[in-house]
């Protein structure tokens, strides 16, 4: 039994400036933060070094964000995933389905509230999931 590194996060967004701001924000909270701009890069990163929490954008240049999340769920179900999107709304069927299946722990709409991001990250750090 090994726990995930407690304060590691992954930001998956093809918008570099937004990813940068999220990274800076979480670093100020004491996190180690990696960035992936594509779905494939995110999947590769998760399988090599699974983070405690991943923030995944719904629309990525190479893949649908929800497909990336499904893949992460298969590879590393212990990773907490937060869906971020400027495209979906919280009440959309796709979002509710992903939440119902436990694929995502939360959904945040863009533009993001950084305090909400910090709070979600802190919750994850306080209750780390155990890897199988």
């Amino acid at each position: 039994m090994n726990t995930l590194h407690p304060l590691t996060a992954l930001i998956v967004d093809d918008e570099p400036d937004l990813a940068w701001a999220l990274q800076q924000n979480l670093r100020l909270d004491g996190w180690q933060v990696a960035i992936a701009h594509t779905g494939n890069a995110a999947i590769a990163h998760v399988s090599a070094t699974p983070p405690c929490i991943a923030f995944v954008d719904a629309k990525l240049p190479d893949m649908d964000g929800l497909d990336v999340i499904r893949r992460i769920g298969e590879l590393r179900p212990e990773v907490r995933v937060v869906l971020i999107s400027g495209y979906y709304y919280a009440e959309d069927a796709e979002v509710r389905e992903a939440q119902g299946k436990g694929l995502i722990v939360h959904f945040i709409a863009k533009p993001l509230d950084l305090r909400e991001v910090s709070a979600l990250a802190r919750q994850a750090a306080d209750n780390p999931r155990v890897a199988r």
Binding site: D17, W20, A21, Q24, N25, L28, K59, P111, D113, L114
Partner: protein, 505 residues
């Protein structure tokens, strides 16, 4: 006489002795009426033709006075008696003129008559009245005049401008439509060059066109604007052709022009509606495209508020905020430019610039449906004559159409190149989508043809693109295979000095 005499020739003195009945044969054989009058204007001879035409006999004609033989009305209108007396007096022949004569029981006939003095040694002893029946010629002449009047009224009442010119290009006729559209009356333009009435920049094109026609080429429709009397510009589609005479020489040039004002107006309205419709299709992509830079700026601003004292981070945040706002402004700018109605002016433009603008505006739209957009732009392409805004509309419609063919993602390749014949610039839109079934191919450019569900498109996108390309003298071709994708190829003729946009009439 010094002249050599032909043994076969006979003198007029010998005629009577050799051919005693010649005069009678001649008189009765010729298809004209002949009378001979004496000094008292009595008929001394009437040929068979006269007696038949006038329904008379020798008994009631020979020895009778002129007024007994001709109705009083004819004598008073022709003054035949007075003229016959004048011929007796002067000894000069008289080409009389027309005479309308109606004998009892026959249709009215028209004659051309002449009076010729007959002499003996003492002087004029008789007057020969010859009457040629010209009823048929008269009828034909009247028919010709009627047809001429008919044709003239066709030309005059035509809604198109009809201008005829001499082979050297000077205006000879100018119909009512030409007067109405141009504001110039017939009298003001007769003898002038049609080119002088064109707008300043297009006069040479009209001269080139007319000189080609005067060499016997009758060609495509050319769109050249007229400068009206009040100074307005009127777009006109001209079809010019030579008029040949019976010897196969060019006798005149004819230019038929259609006023395109109304049509341009309708097209502009249609393009504008189509733009608005495609903005609706793009709305999702546009929102996303705006939200991304705004989201980045918003996050950077929050970071700046969180760490007011961190100057290093603060400077970086301010930079990101500024970049985000700039990017959002650029999106709005390109949208406004796209949505704005334009004057439809044609310029020499680079097709690659139009592709660039189109892709910049739509790349996000494509990304939303996982469509990768690749461009392969040909280097050093010649310019084309085009309206950038209209062409961008056409490219936008082809782009969106390609995306809609790939609902689950794919690749759209936009390639620009010079055609093998080097007279056109080609732009290929190659998608890896669902393809178009063979039976649908002939209809893809038809208005309101769509395979999308109700509410997802009205089926005007490709129609509009086609019509825009037609306006540019170009075309769109489509190749497709179900399951493999489609290629739409836009062809636009390259810009030349004597460029003409064909096919607009």
């Amino acid at each position: 006489m010094g002249q050599p005499t032909n043994p076969m020739a006979i003198t007029s003195n010998e005629i009577e002795s050799q051919y005693p009945n010649l005069a009678t044969v001649l008189l009765d054989g010729i298809p004209s009426s002949v009378l001979i009058l004496d000094r008292g204007l009595r008929v001394t001879l009437a040929n068979r033709n006269f007696l038949e035409k006038a329904r008379r006999t020798t008994d009631n004609t020979l020895g009778r006075r002129l007024e007994e033989v001709f109705p009083a009305a004819i004598l008073s209108s022709t003054q035949l008696d007075r003229r016959a007396r004048a011929v007796f007096q002067d000894g000069q022949p008289l080409e009389g003129g027309k005479m309308t004569y109606r004998a009892p029981g026959v249709l009215q006939r028209v004659y051309f008559y002449s009076l010729t003095p007959l002499r003996d040694n003492s002087g004029v002893v008789g007057v020969l009245l010859m009457m040629h029946d010209i009823t048929e010629q008269e009828r034909l002449t009247q028919d010709v005049r009627r047809i001429e009047r008919h044709l003239a009224s066709v030309v005059e009442s035509a809604n198109d401008l009809v201008v005829s010119m001499g082979a050297e290009g000077r205006i000879m006729t100018w119909n009512q439509a030409a007067e109405r559209v141009s504001g110039f009356a017939r009298g003001e333009v007769i003898g002038r060059d049609l080119a002088e009435l064109c707008v300043e920049g297009e006069r040479d094109q009209m001269r080139t066109l007319l000189s080609a026609v005067s060499r016997g080429e009758s060609g495509v429709i050319h769109e050249l604007s007229l400068r009206t009397r009040p100074g307005k510009l009127i777009p006109v589609a001209w079809a010019c052709s030579p008029m040949w005479d019976e010897q196969g020489r060019i006798a005149a040039l004819v230019a038929v022009g259609r006023d395109l004002t109304e049509r341009r107006l309708l097209e502009a309205q249609l393009f504008q509606s189509a733009k608005m419709a495609s903005l609706g299709v793009m709305a999702g992509g546009i929102a996303h495209q705006l939200r991304n830079p705004l989201g980045a700026a918003s996050a950077a601003a929050q970071l700046l508020l969180r760490e007011p004292d961190n100057r290093e981070l603060g400077r970086e945040c301010a930079q990101k905020i500024y970049e985000g706002i700039k990017r959002a402004s650029a999106v709005i700018e390109s949208l406004l430019r796209f949505a704005r109605p334009d004057g439809g002016a044609f310029n020499a433009i680079q097709v690659n610039d139009v592709i660039g603008d189109t892709v910049a505006m739509l790349r996000h739209q494509a990304n939303l449906s996982q469509v990768q957009v690749e461009t392969e732009l040909g280097a050093n392409l010649p310019t084309i004559s085009g309206n950038p805004s209209a062409l961008q509309q056409a490219f936008t419609n082809l782009f969106l159409n390609a995306c809609q063919a790939m609902p689950t993602g794919g690749r759209l390749t936009i390639r620009s190149r010079l055609t093998e014949t080097a007279d056109c610039v080609a732009v290929d839109f190659v998608d890896t989508g669902c393809g178009i079934p063979k039976e649908n191919l002939p209809q893809v450019f038809d208005p309101f043809f769509t395979t999308r569900p109700v509410g997802k498109g009205v089926g005007l996108g490709l129609t509009i693109a086609y019509s825009i390309l037609q306006q540019h003298g170009g075309s769109i071709q489509v190749h497709s295979a179900v399951g493999q994708g489609s290629t739409f190829t836009v062809l636009v003729p390259i810009h030349t000095a004597d460029h003409a946009t064909g096919g607009k009439g």
